[in-house]
Symmetry: C2
């Protein structure tokens, strides 16, 4: 039940791009430095989220990446579903018919509900939300 480094790093990259949204194209070199993540590894991860409706990209000197939309238009769920494949806790939630036991499966409703909760929450949080909370909300959450 863990989110892989791919997903976590992808989210941090997107947040980094959101923080520097106004500065034009941002190179992986800069993101790598700020986030302290191997640039080579970031290369592989950004390939996954480098879709036309997600990122704009430019090669060559002064090139890099920038968000295709405003930070409020990306949800954490969007990003994680790209890198993690699916956020459902068990495969049979996505394709129940592939399991022979699904018809009478007692546990499937639990997994289905869990999947809904996870997806609904992650789809309710945008990059902009995360930027807005910053220190303030962090402190609140930390006390809980």
């Amino acid at each position: 039940m863990k989110v892989s480094t791919k997903g976590r790093y992808a989210l941090r990259m997107m947040l980094d791009l959101a923080q520097h949204y106004e500065e034009g194209f941002i190179s992986l070199k800069d993101i790598s430095k700020r986030q302290e993540i191997s640039k080579k590894y970031l290369e592989q991860i950004i390939i996954i989220i480098n879709k036309p409706d997600f990122l704009k990209t430019n090669r060559g000197s002064q090139g890099g990446y920038k968000l295709a939309k405003s930070p409020s238009e990306y949800t954490v769920g969007d990003i994680l579903r790209l890198t993690e494949g699916s956020l459902s806790p068990v495969d049979c939630v996505d394709n129940p018919s592939e399991c022979e036991r699904y018809a009478g499966c007692l546990t499937l409703p639990v997994w289905k509900h869990l999947s809904e909760i996870i997806n609904d929450y992650l789809d309710s949080v945008t990059l902009q939300d995360i930027l807005d909370t910053q220190q303030e909300e962090y402190a609140i959450n930390y006390v809980i």
Copy 2:
């Protein structure tokens, strides 16, 4: 973000024991047949959840396992935390101080909240709840 077979099989074993709660000790052989899971694999998994406050066990002929408490006293969260270790989506939720970046980490609140949601839901569902829903609730969930 997947629950392993260990966790899923453990839940199914516990549900099987709950369904035959009144029948004394239940052997792994029977559970294995009903659940169509290798008995050898079940042996290893049940060792993890075979705690005194969880299961009663008897060796030898006519031996087996039975629940130590009533089905309503086990939550899915209890069972999965034993087999999966922790249900938090990232390690830093459990020990934030181990990450050097945690102080200003923008993503930590998201993971913390997600972790709460997951744990709260799974702790709200007992074995008895699952038995009660059976076909009826299953149909409702399926339509959603």
